[in-house]
Every structure is written in structure tokens, then in C-alpha cells.
Symmetry: C2
Subunit: 204 residues, 2 copies
DNA sequence: GTCTATATTTAGATAGAC
DNA sequence: GTCTATCTAAATATAGAC
């Protein structure tokens, strides 16, 4: 029997609250979602939500803390791929896969809005984005080494830029169209080494 | 002497309120900016703000109504350029030039967040974004005609994608770094016709 | 037209019973 | 742990004096 609190059960309840809150934050936004709304969605009272979280912002952060392990798993899966450029494109497509889910769009926008106001949220996001950036940076460096990626690019800066372009896929508000093809084309061509004839002319 | 209200003066006061409000909405967001804040910034009482606008959302819309003439001017300036591809890249750079202004960043995020909740705001934004999309679509079509842009692209879809990428560049604006070079490379290569040797291999 | 004063509503957070 | 009840604070919008 557990000596003090059942830490597993606490984690479960927190998770359930975060899941319900994510849906509401995505559609209504942070300010317009009330703690009472969250409590109702998860089937408890508002008082109980404050038992699991010190305040409303902490619930918001919990939503994004859930992304860290997923990012780690994805990055790890591609880290040792034989063909780094192919791996980059697959990873990018996977990162953008949720883009057509309107909830993902709403959450991204709300995150951008709130991140300036909560230093602890900055830290949460920094960790997840950092994992992805590390992974992309490594793959870009390996692509440069094997000649499939433009070696003139700074791997870290290119990785950061690619993350920006992935965000663009999320902003593509039209749910009717899949942004992944345009995204793949964009990233593939961005990374592409300078074709020899153009190199001679001093462009791209 | 004016028979009824001085319509010019009303427009001036509305403008002054919109300018002050823009700054506040950009930094604090829509919900956290109070009408009292706006009134104080412009030097009047909250009651006066409600004399010029029916409600707070109307003040927010007024902020974005100011963008329409600017977009028209920019697009018109490039519409008849001799080299459409060059014009696209210049126009894109200009659109992204504001990206390093934190106020522009804040306003864009807030716009994305609020646009879902206000049908009248949708209309305001649709007009401005529509002008830019028309302009880009025309330039892309002309580029396809003169061989500087991949003719396999649908001009309208390509224009929409470019707008999204510009927005993303805005959003992740690290104020320390200029996104325009990466943006130019990205757009130029995205639009580029398929090099002949790659075409033979059936790759994009 | 601009103000002051206020009605109305609502939300975050807490206290304390069970 | 979960609830109900409530405190406190703030914000939109209006009323009505000047």
C-alpha cells in the first residue's frame, strides 16, 4: 500500500485535466476558457482543478509538457537513418501531420500568444523545440557531409528555419488542403546543394 | 460651418483611438487590454471610446482596417514589374520587413487568435489578404509564362503558401536575427522551375 | 462630445465541510 | 480528495450630468 499520496494516480488525474483543457484552450483560447469550463469537461468541480494545479496557467503549461516525450521519440526514430536528407523530409512531414487538425492550429496560435507572458511556459516550449532542433541539426550536418544537403548552410540555423516553415504548415488554415506536399517541396529545395551550373554564375 | 457632425473630425478621433489601441493589443492582447487602458493611452475617458465605437471588438477591427491601403499600395507598386520573379522576392521581403517589429508580431498573433470569433473581422482581413494574394497570383502566373517560375505550380495555391510562409517568418521572429535572407532563399527555390537533369529523373 | 458614476456580470482562487 | 459556497476583483457597457 502506498505510504503517502499515490503519485501515479495524481499523474493520471493531471493528465485527464490537461487533455480536456487542451481542447478548450484550442477552440476558445486561454482567457475565454474558464477553470469552470475545464472542470465541467473533465467531470469534476472547479475546486478540484485547483487541487491538482496551483493556478490556471499551470494547466496551460501542462498541455504542452505532454509534447516532450513525443518529440523525443520522433527524433530518436530518425536520428540514425542511413539517408539523412530523406530522414529530414520524413521527420518534417511527421511534425506537420497534425497541421490539418483545427485544434492543433488553435493551440499553436494560443501558445504564441501566451508564451511571452509566462517564463515557465517559455522553458517548457524551449525544451521540446530544443529536442527537435538538435535532431534536425544533426541530420543536416550529416546531409552536408554526404553531399545531399548544401554544405554552405549553418546546420543549426537551417534547423531553426525549418521549424519555422513547419509552423507555417500549421498556420495554413484551410482544412481542405494538405500542406505537407508544399512543405516537403519547400524544405527539400531549401536544403538542396547549389546545382553546378548555377554555382558558376554565383547564384542562388 | 458643418450642418451635422464633422465627419472628418470623427474619423480623426477614431484613428487616434485605433493607433493607441494597436500598441496595447500588440503587447497585452485583446482580452487583457481594457477599454480603460485604451482610453487612458489616448487621453480620454472610457465613456468616450464607446461614443466612437459600439464595442471593444469594433476598436480591434479598426486597427486592421488601416492595413488595407498599405497593402494596395505595395501590391500596385510591383504589379507591372518587368521581371515577375524578382518582383515576387522584393514584395515578399517587404511584407516580411515588419517581422522584426515586436508590435507587428504581437498584432499578427492576436489577429490569428481573434479572427475565428468575429465574422466582421474575417471580412476585414479577407480584403487585405485578398489584395496580396491577387498580386502574388498574378506575378506567379506571369513568371510561369516567361519561364522563371515552375509552370506546374497552381498560381493561386502557390501564392497562398507563400503568404503562410511569410507569416511564419513573422511569428518566430527572433528579434536578433533577420529572417529575410532565409525567406528569400526559400521562396526563390520553391518557385524555381525543375532543373532539366532532375526533370529527367522524375523528381521535383 | 466628454465626463463621472455605476449597474451588471463574471472569473480566479480560497475556505472549510464531508 | 472532492465538493459547495463564497470572497474579491475587475471589466464591459450604460445613464445621465454638464
Amino acid at each position: 500500500m502506498a505510504r503517502t499520496v499515490d503519485v501515479g494516480r495524481v499523474a493520471e488525474r493531471r493528465e485527464a485535466i490537461a487533455v480536456a483543457a487542451a481542447r478548450l484552450f484550442a477552440t476558445a483560447g486561454f482567457e475565454r476558457t474558464t477553470v469552470a469550463d475545464i472542470a465541467r469537461a473533465v467531470g469534476v468541480s472547479a475546486g478540484s482543478v485547483f487541487y491538482y494545479f496551483p493556478d490556471k496557467r499551470a494547466v496551460f503549461r501542462a498541455v504542452f509538457e505532454r509534447d516532450l516525450p513525443l518529440a523525443q521519440e520522433r527524433v530518436a526514430r530518425y536520428a540514425d537513418a542511413d539517408q539523412p536528407l530523406t530522414a529530414i523530409l520524413e521527420l518534417v512531414a511527421e511534425l506537420a501531420a497534425d497541421a490539418r487538425d483545427p485544434a492543433a492550429y488553435g493551440l499553436l496560435v494560443e501558445l504564441l500568444r501566451q508564451v511571452d507572458r509566462d517564463p515557465e511556459l517559455v522553458e517548457v516550449v524551449r525544451r521540446t523545440a530544443g529536442i527537435v532542433q538538435e535532431g534536425l541539426t544533426g541530420l543536416i550536418a550529416r546531409g552536408a557531409a554526404d553531399g545531399t544537403v548544401d554544405a554552405a548552410l549553418d546546420p543549426r540555423e537551417a534547423a531553426a528555419w525549418i521549424q519555422v516553415v513547419v509552423d507555417a504548415a500549421y498556420l495554413n488554415a484551410d482544412p481542405a488542403r494538405d500542406p505537407v506536399p508544399a512543405l516537403r517541396r519547400t524544405v527539400a529545395r531549401y536544403l538542396q546543394p547549389v546545382p553546378r551550373d548555377e554555382e558558376a554564375r554565383g547564384e542562388p
